[in-house]
Symmetry: C2
Subunit: 193 residues, 2 copies
């Protein structure tokens, strides 16, 4: 079915994708217009439709993302959290896709679903390898902490978080993430009263 030979239009396709990621990251799903993306890629808006069908499918293509998380089960327990946080910050700053996912995921259901997929397929396995006890909850808590960090630092730009040095940031956050990954789970299920 698929024809994977290189095509003459591969350059254009890539330019569209690059521009789409930039715009989705800067403006979110609804304010990023196909016309603006096409202008950035220096082609006609109709080309975007030809290659990606519609805006929703364009976003789906632009929001393909691999966190490339390292396997932390071989890392000394005391360093796993710091490695994880450092890796995440690097992935965030080196690629606009995560910004696009967060900006779009807050208002667009398909983007939110994509974030859930990435979470389930990429972060949860890491937690499972580290702790056999309630790994899903642990992964969720780590995601909360890390996404909250990104939200405050890169999106909302709360002054104290945006100004913080990276090493300081990791040092602050490290104990919290470690607690989520390896700490004692809270006792018992839901209680009465």
């Amino acid at each position: 079915m698929n024809d994977d030979r290189p095509r003459r239009s591969d350059g254009t396709r890539a330019a569209i994708l690059r521009a789409a990621r930039e715009r989705f990251a800067a403006d979110g799903y609804e304010r990023a217009t196909i016309r603006a993306i096409a202008a950035d890629a220096a082609i006609d808006p109709s080309m975007v439709m030809r290659y990606y069908g519609n805006k929703e499918r364009l976003f789906a293509a632009a929001a393909e993302f691999d966190l490339r998380l390292p396997d932390l089960s071989a890392t000394p327990a005391g360093q796993a959290a710091a490695v994880l946080v450092g890796h995440f910050l690097e992935r965030w700053e080196g690629d606009e896709t995560l910004m696009a996912l967060l900006r779009a995921g807050v208002t667009n259901p398909a983007a939110a679903e994509r974030m859930r997929e990435i979470f389930a397929a990429q972060l949860m396995p890491v937690a499972e390898r580290l702790s056999p006890d309630q790994p899903q909850t642990r992964a969720g808590l780590v995601a909360s902490q890390i996404l909250g960090l990104a939200l405050c630092r890169y999106v909302l730009k709360l002054p104290p978080m945006a100004a913080l040095d990276r090493a300081e940031l990791i040092a602050w956050v490290n104990p919290a993430v470690e607690h989520y990954l390896l700490g004692t789970p809270v006792g018992g299920g839901p209680r009465g009263s």
Copy 2:
């Protein structure tokens, strides 16, 4: 200048504001349309313009918000974090304004600025009263954790976070927030290499 006498239109004004909060919370700034808000309030869209001028000012009015944070300096140190997190969850679930702020703040600069104001005016004083050492950073870290929580639980609805019992959630998050509020600050500033 202001005439604070009750007006005949106060009911309509309130209905508009209520509908606006609902729509902004559910859809974010750009997808929440004045027409839809007016329809929810069962009036004509032009009334929205008459009473609030334009969409931006309507949002500003709808996004007025008081966290009503308690003064934690009288709370026993071991409970301050739990009280704070519990209070925040209650505020979140009992009022749509925070949802509107988060959904809008991610793509709308004015909404982001409003979040920064609320953070600086309402959360930072609490941190300052609790710890004289780097209170701004501490407040920022608490905001990161708490907003990340809300993002994953209420907006993205990551299954493990959405399913978590409230008491369990507080028990998990409590040590992290406590660490941010009262823990030892990380040594030294930026280091070489």
